[in-house]
């Protein structure tokens, strides 16, 4: 096997070398100037052909891949995102088309010929001014539209928003819902313990923790039409909560709390119909390299159709404190730990 590969590589080099030799002989035979002139013409035509074929291919590819792209945005803010994205595509598309066409057309049009005289044209300040100000104005418009959306996206969440905490660790997502009190209690990284307190909830110092529900399966439950505010954190290295269907993403940084909020507008069930895919599921990807299992750090989002449906689900959950400490001797933090949960994607994939 390796001999064949070696032979092929050797053959490859020999062929290259022969092409080179042959072309040199041909040039000497036919005369250098003649060869140069004909090559020049050939290259000019090739450049033109590249332009035409390339533009066609780009357009064709665009059309053919659309059905593999993300479905409509599942959040209200994402709708804004999509329209801004489209506007930017159209704008840059036009500039792309014009400049590339000029580049290859000029190349073809002004190829060297016997008769052609180059036009000595060293500068023109009016032109420079023109193509300084026009891009500047276009950019100013883009900045204004962009910042309008940016400040919208990063504005404080409405008071009615559902609050959920999502914490990254190597390599899965931990999700915490406030209990009946509607508030999340304080955490302390020194209290973390993979056996019975994965988030380091400070039960002694903050009783609000007692009814908090912690979900280690990486399933984020939210409600259609109700703004949701994500409190994002990390236990170890930097991760990133990526929500492609909602057009959002935010780093999860140890030692720092970050947040995003958005309003889901399409429930999971509805999206299954829109995409005609019964297996459709909103996914949370980790978008910041976090180590070996980065590519498998998968979470999911379940968008419930109604608040009642969500409440129903919530009623079935048990607060972490109850699971781990009620009915058990009251001393938290045993020395030995259970095997940490890893590679949530593998689990889901195997189902």
């Amino acid at each position: 096997m390796s001999f064949i590969i070696f032979a092929l590589v050797a053959l490859f080099f020999v062929i290259i070398y022969q092409i080179a030799k042959a072309s040199e002989y041909a040039t000497t035979l036919r005369g250098e100037d003649k060869v140069r002139a004909s090559t020049n013409k050939l290259m000019a035509w090739l450049l033109l052909a590249f332009l035409v074929l390339g533009m066609y291919a780009a357009w064709h590819f665009h059309e053919s891949i659309l059905d593999k792209m993300l479905p409509v945005s599942a959040s209200a803010e994402g709708r804004e995102y999509d329209s801004m994205f489209k506007a930017t595509i159209i704008l840059t598309g036009i500039v792309f088309f014009i400049t590339q066409t000029l580049l290859f057309w000029f190349a073809f049009r002004y190829q060297s010929t016997e008769k052609r005289k180059p036009y000595f044209y060293p500068h023109n300040n009016k032109l420079e001014l023109l193509w300084t100000t026009i891009p500047a104005i276009v950019m100013a418009v883009l900045v204004m539209v962009g910042l309008k959306n940016w400040f919208l996206m990063t504005s404080p969440a409405p008071a009615s928003a559902q609050v959920v905490e999502i914490v990254g660790k190597q390599f899965n997502w931990l999700i915490r819902y406030p209990g009946a009190d509607g508030e999340l209690g304080r955490r302390n990284f020194r209290l973390i313990n993979d056996a019975n307190n994965v988030l380091g909830l400070d039960y002694k110092g903050d009783p609000r923790n007692l009814d908090d529900v912690v979900n280690q399966s990486g399933e984020l439950h939210i409600v259609k039409g109700r703004p949701v505010k994500l409190i994002i954190g990390s236990r170890d290295v930097i991760h990133d909560v990526g929500l492609p269907h909602f057009r959002y993403k935010m780093d999860a940084v140890p030692g720092i709390t970050t947040t995003i909020w958005f309003t889901p507008t399409v429930s999971t069930e509805e999206m299954k119909k829109i995409t005609k895919n019964p297996n459709f599921v909103y996914e949370i990807s980790c978008d910041q390299l976090c180590g070996k299992g980065h590519y498998s750090m998968r979470g999911t989002v379940i968008v419930h159709d109604t608040q009642e449906e969500f409440n129903e689900w919530m009623r079935k959950q048990t607060p972490d404190y109850v699971t781990n400490f009620a009915n058990k001797p009251a001393s938290p933090a045993p020395a030995n730990q259970a095997a940490p949960v890893t590679d949530s994607a593998k689990k889901t994939a195997m189902k």
Binding site: F13, I16, Y17, A20, T39, N40, M43, A44, F61, I65, K68, M69, L70, Y81, F96, T99, Q100, L103, F106, Y110, S112, Y119, P122, H123, N124, L127, W131, T132, M139, L142, G146, W150, F151, M153, T154, F189, R190, V237, G242, P244, Y248, K249, M250, D251, V253, P254, G255, I256, T258, F280, E283, S285, C286, D287, Q288, G291, K292, Y295, Q337, A345
Partner: protein
Amino acid sequence: MSTQNEHIVIDGPNLVHGGTSEVDHNVHPNDRDRHGADDALHGHAHHEPHFIFKYIFSQDHKYIAKQFLITGMVWAIIGALMSVFFRLQLGWPDKNFAILETFLGHWAKGGKLSPEFYYALVTMHGTILIFFVLTAGLSGTFANFLIPLQVGARDMASPFMNMLSYWFFFTASVVMFCSLFVQTGPASGGWTSYPPLSAIREASLGSGTGMDLWLIAMALFVVSTLLGGLNYVSTVLNMRTKGMSMTRLPLTVWALFFTAIIGILSFPVLLSGFVLLIFDRNFGTSFYLSEIFINGRALPHVGGSPILYQHLFWFLGHPEVYIIMLPGMGIASEILSTNSRKPIFGYFAMVISLVGITVLSFLVWAHHMFVSGMSPFLGSIFVLMTLLIAVPSAVKTFNWLTTIWRGKLRFNVPMMFAIGFVSMFISGGLTGIFLGNSALDIHLHDTYFVIAHFHLVMGVSAFMGMFAGIYHWFPKMFGRQMNNTLGYIHFWLTFIGAYLIFWPMHYEGIAGMPRRYFDYSAWESFKQFESLNSFISICAIVTFFAQLIFLVNFFASIWKGKKVTDPNPWGSTTLEWTTPIKPGHGNWPGEIPTVYRWAYDYKDDGNGNDFVPQNVPLREGEEAH
């Protein structure tokens, strides 16, 4: 002095060298320790320099340039080969490739890459191509080769420092190369090496010894860049020949000059970032670390901020992409003008846009951090600055287009690459407008859209510029021509291949497909790109083999290429073509030519030539530029 300077238009810096021919000696305080044409010319009896000093510890800028070039090429092969390895994994995640095991041993048992080593490959691929190839290999080659030749100097301001610069780079290379073979594998935290991942040894295999070596190599690399950069800047400022005012410099020199300035101002910040990281790794400090629970225990660190590292890193990281781009811009300007037989359009606008890019490049770094948790208000400032930098880039593009407009275009191989450069720069530059707008970046960040964007605008463009430069100056470097047919084949395969590889990646990114993933097959949202990924991988492999054509052409031509007979084979105006076909140490056997005009006088010289070299005195009635 005043008579000598008559033809010089207003130009301050030129006064530095007093303007007499003695200058040529004065500016070379080191001449006494050096050997070569310069001394021989003045009749000193001199022995040939010892082999070691001529071929290894050479201080001749032309030779050092070749050392940088060859080392860079070796790295380019390694870095590109790595991309082939990980593209095999991405293209066919469920297949095994025996060849992987042959090359990588236990990292690819049974022909299947391990995730850890996948990340190590990606990290080293990025580090190698960005720093070792497109910074050292590119600037190191062309700044060394072109600055003295094009400004009319016998060598660099400090040839000794110049030599040190290469040897620091070489040492950095050795350390980086060794890191590929340590037991826990090379660094694997991405070329950006964000802590805590890179700071905590338990966080991943590559954060062990591999990361230590990575940091040491990078520190040595920074030293090399600084030694080189200081030399380039002082040479351009102080060693221009008589008549070579700053406003007559070729755009290559301008571009390399600003490249060096950017490097000098930004690399020290990177180094300080690395030093703090070394402290955190080894001495228990907490600059970047806070509230971490890993491997079953809570670490003692509190109060540090991982974001601080990102600021320090990107303060270099962003200017770095201009360090990579500017030389290509200069080379493309030079080659487009020469082969259009027309002056570059808007010389001053070209210089001013370089200044604009240089200044703005320091004010946009945080556009890499829009979703890091940075204040949204701060983010908005960086949006503004980032989109502002599109303006000088647009000016450059339009000026290139106008340069070829109504020219008389010769499509030799360097010209093809220069056109390819402009095309790639446009394509990649336009997608930057998406990423610079934070509201759009919030979805695109760290997806394949970013991979596509920076490969086109920085990776491929810079390579196009570098290839253009190599094909163009090869006759000056080696006194021979490279083979044309192979050059054209190389160009078309590379140009088309690069578009086929990277264009589709934009769509994957728009669909949210994250970068730095080992395998997508478990993801409902991303697995539909499986066949597209195989297609990209096939294109990548073909493009990789196309580079071998270049390698054969390059090395065969050094010894077997057609000998150059015309000292100015492209009909260029710049000074390097006034040297002998194979310039010796000191570049010009006689006096250094005096310069009378700007670098782009492509016009009728009255004797049937369509260009007027810079060292030709003004004709009567001709206006100076």
